[in-house]
Assembly symmetry: C2
Homo-oligomer: 505 residues x 2
Amino acid sequence: MAKEKRTAITPTREQDYPEWYQQVIKAAGLAENSPVRGCMVIKPWGYAVWENMQAVLDKMFKDTGHQNAYFPLFIPVSYLEKEAKHVEGFAKECAVVTHSRLELNAEGKLVPASPLEEPLIVRPTSETIIGEMYSRWVQSYRDLPILINQWANVVRWEMRTRLFLRTAEFLWQEGHTAHATQEEAVEETLKMLKVYEDFAQNYMAMPVICGQKTEGEKFPGAVDTYCIEAMMQDRKALQAGTSHFLGQNFAKASNIKFLSEAGNQEYAWTTSWGVSTRLVGGLVMTHADDDGLIIPPRLAPVHVVILPVLHNEAENAGVLAYCEALKKEISAQTFNGAPIRVEIDARDIRGGDKVWGWVKKGVPVRIEAGPRDIAANKVFAARRDTGEKFSADKNEFTASLPKLLQDMQDALYQKALACRTQNTKIIDSKEEFYEYFTPKNQDNPEIHGGFALTHFSGSAEVEETLKKDLKVTVRCIPLEGDKTPGVCPFDGKPSKKRVIFGKSY
Amino acid sequence: MAKEKRTAITPTREQDYPEWYQQVIKAAGLAENSPVRGCMVIKPWGYAVWENMQAVLDKMFKDTGHQNAYFPLFIPVSYLEKEAKHVEGFAKECAVVTHSRLELNAEGKLVPASPLEEPLIVRPTSETIIGEMYSRWVQSYRDLPILINQWANVVRWEMRTRLFLRTAEFLWQEGHTAHATQEEAVEETLKMLKVYEDFAQNYMAMPVICGQKTEGEKFPGAVDTYCIEAMMQDRKALQAGTSHFLGQNFAKASNIKFLSEAGNQEYAWTTSWGVSTRLVGGLVMTHADDDGLIIPPRLAPVHVVILPVLHNEAENAGVLAYCEALKKEISAQTFNGAPIRVEIDARDIRGGDKVWGWVKKGVPVRIEAGPRDIAANKVFAARRDTGEKFSADKNEFTASLPKLLQDMQDALYQKALACRTQNTKIIDSKEEFYEYFTPKNQDNPEIHGGFALTHFSGSAEVEETLKKDLKVTVRCIPLEGDKTPGVCPFDGKPSKKRVIFGKSY
């Protein structure tokens, strides 16, 4: 009998991708489901990853001239109604607050009391309430642009939830800007899309395609929605961030008017853009393997964990002292502009459990140090991404750590890019398209072709048919790449260029 | 006629303290009321102060071994019911979510649809939902302690709101810890109280008294509530932070049990502790004057603002270059462990408006630089706290800035401490007590004596009478200071020591 490779996560990606994803999250201690339907608990390790994401993004937003602010959690129903498309998009799944008190009824049960005059919804997104405030703040062109970002929780009453990827409550940032001209607003929309691309590629090590959404897939109320789309290891697409050019739709709905330099009353041009805790899910599905999470070094809460080998009472104090000194030397090194984050794990638990615990948490580098290493002034190191293990001179190793971490960061990106390239195909016939998106293995129906680069006429009918037949949608109309026109293989009509088709989360 | 001193804020503190407070906030651009009842919008300048508070506190929490995590916004009503005192305290004013959808009714109006099986409340505090998660995470004494903090928004349906001090929604942090022993939990409770004291005094420059709450004033469900209490400029007390020893009350309610080292099933001992955006209100009321906000340098989003004097087209480029060079030199200096935060305001607006704008925002140091300063290599500087203005050699001034900022930080603390000392009185008779708390000026009924250090028997009846008669409550039983026993002047019974009485926000 062939011996199967033992993996830390059961099932493997190959065996059952969705379940593998849940198990990776559980094993890493990233998050878990709460007793409140659809709401997750983000555990310390998961929250630390999110905090690192926040810190990088927050600096990027500030460097591009934005300020943070905070707007109310609740939105009056009448505000939602102001933009017709918007209400269509969000009224179907929202948490509605109808009372402001609980009281005991005759049976001694707490029941809602003091009904509100007007129900409130918990914000699913804040265009309408922020628009109302902007209408108060903007009188003249001198008050523009307004460049504000908010870090907040939002709620969308999703029926089918999955940790990080789709939850009723999630954490995000939402940028909301108002401008005097259309040009400036479009420029802002694309600038923030590029910020997201930079973040995804250079911090998450997750290759993304920048593109535009079709009419059917755009944000409710937007003129144009731009997005970054990434391919996960099951070849499905993850919409990882969106940036919306809202035209004057929300300015009209919220009455954001200003006196222009020429002396005319004009409506402002607005944008909004956001990324969420969904990115943590994207990070997992881009990099984790059958042994658990792998965190790109630039976002890792801990870069290096030192595991003292403590077998002998007489030697333990010396080992710990060696590890403490090593920790100090390592944290004197910088990576990505800050000291390397290093921890010693001296817990009294089985060595194997300890090592595997850190493997499953995805810490980039593990170091073991015991009496023999001390004698030779060495360390025994392991790289989480490749699994490579090696013994090295302590000082040389410490000095090489910044480069090692950057190499891992780059290697993770290249690996993900290769995976996407390998699973992206130019397809020009309907038959090949249907074949491509049909699962080959009935035991694992989630695995299919990947991304198809195919011409598309823009027909909503075609989109609907493909969604119904294959659960495939246009992920985006790429901004870069081949711009040769052609013919849509589904309705024979002209196509401006190929678009990205795929199944999506 | 005597000429009145012109102030930037109308009315002055003397004329109408509550309205002065609103006007300071408005003039500084800290926050404003939103159209959603009781919910405020925290504007960029106010949010920047809150971010600085968060950064300091977050580091203090992590340095004391805590990790951040995130728990659901919603709490099932049945969870609230688990702790009897807790439900009493929070059921009376909470946002109740009863539906998960809106639909159009026959009249074309959006109305709540899809009622929930069990209503949810928006968290007013998270003991119950976090307790539920801890009960799942804790099996053995090895799983303890759990030391977690959450940064979150919470909602309490307050009837009378005031920006920052009391709002329906506010931002806060809530620490929730679970321990194997009572001693450890009590130690944690007091440790975090000391963290808050450190923060209030050394960062907010706000003197506080550490003390314990009476039975009547403690947190619903706590065994002991500790607090930091500060005196505002109207001599009222502000409860600025609380730390609760919850005993086993919530562990029993949530079934947080563990197998002890001795092999027994025991309930854990828990604590919770929090501070909120209320601190921003406390900062305003401690330091602002009749010209507007004064921000202690350690929390100021901008330490120094440079105002180029641009009067002459031919000289402007030179002035701007001088200011840019100055900015660079200043930001090369460090204050409180980070580069000094400096901005140039070159907006084309009236010089007076510009200067007063920064005065009202409370930036510690303003610098004006024009052609004459350049010629002499000088700057013209103004200190926000004292109003002092002086001309100085540019290089000497730049080098002295870290000390100047620290001097201002210290001076603000000393000034606030002097105000509290001056308005705190040892009182031993009921007559003097009533006299002390009776406003002297009917035009300004808010102004009264201040804090009274008076003996107290602990009687709930006495507390109730004083509250009814004078709106005065026991702010805290101080942990430090005079511990001589005495007699309660209200009921003649023995008193262990003097307590702090005051009116409060």
